[in-house]
Symmetry: C2
Amino acid sequence: MAQRKSRTDRRIDLIEAARRAIIRHGIDGVQLSHVAEEAGLTSGAVLYHYPDLSELLVEAQHAGMERFYEQRLRQLATVTDPVSKLVMTIRSGLPTGPLDPDVRLLNELGGAAGRNRVYGVLLTSLYDRQVSMYQSILDTGSALGVFRLSGDSLSLARNLVALEDAYGYRITARHPVIGPDEAAELILSYARTATGNDLVA
Amino acid sequence: MAQRKSRTDRRIDLIEAARRAIIRHGIDGVQLSHVAEEAGLTSGAVLYHYPDLSELLVEAQHAGMERFYEQRLRQLATVTDPVSKLVMTIRSGLPTGPLDPDVRLLNELGGAAGRNRVYGVLLTSLYDRQVSMYQSILDTGSALGVFRLSGDSLSLARNLVALEDAYGYRITARHPVIGPDEAAELILSYARTATGNDLVA
DNA sequence: GAACTAGTTGAACGTGAATTCAAATACTCA
DNA sequence: TGAGTATTTGAATTCACGTTCAACTAGTTC
């Protein structure tokens, strides 16, 4: 028998297990048994904690998103100058490679968001928060005279996040020439014209 | 009994039916019975033409992609000056709204491309062809002196396609403020700095 | 350490989907 | 027109999954 755990501990485990199962089988392909296997439990045990699998999946997606976003914020807090912030943020929005679990998970949402309102809302809220994050970097740099913005910061920020998103897909789809480094350089080339700064950290 | 059709006609029907079924249920959620229902046939009939459902799904995705791309090329051929071409192409890469079937279908590939090599290859090949399309517009405009490019045309083209992709997701996910018009304007703002042209058609 | 509680298992059951295939039907062409 | 062929159906079968639940186990409490 698998190690016994408290209700809260087990729920955390299950959310992690669901995250892995989604990455492996797709948000519409995950089965109860996949989650159980990832968690090292039987289906019955999973059902004991989450009588409705779809709720667990939503929680897993939600948790994955929050983790991704919080991690970016945390990294951001380690530096102060706007140039470093911008460069670092661009990097942290890209997958480390085709197998990056965080981005793989988010990518699963793309298609489902068109069919499922809950996923649409989740994904939209992540996008908006990331836009705010970029916008505040741009505005700060602008106020300090480091950046000379080529347009309004909201539009620039929206485009930066959009580029991240798109290259995330390219990288996880294993584009033969666009990897993390190339994608970062492509986004940086946009960021340079947007900020009028060379962005050499 | 459903109307009898020739092998080739029926296969075309089935590809269309599969396309609709994928949009409705997701690439990993589609079932044989969904396709059969969309086609107005029984499961047995579908299996008679496609013993392997996954092959039909790949063909449906392939056909959807080709159609999307060919349609863009055809539109592009109706105008000659680079400014009109660029503006029109940006528009034709965006969904008409959250329900746009072509983009909905493509979005289904995003997540699956990370798990399934075939889908990864399909999606990557579409991306690359779209990049070429933009690149040729940019190069022509540059040669004619209409555009003064802010960087190499390949990078600019890659970013333009990336922006289209990303806003396609935003729109199908029903972002409350980013619709087709707003997305087009955001991409255009990038295209303006990229080409040094006001892009007023 | 006995009674109680919470978590887990495994087997039984029901459901729905894929698969198979013989029979029925509609078309082709001699 | 009639024999032959291609397409479709519908029923039977099998399989995989979700669901339920009684029994079991490991903690917890008094």
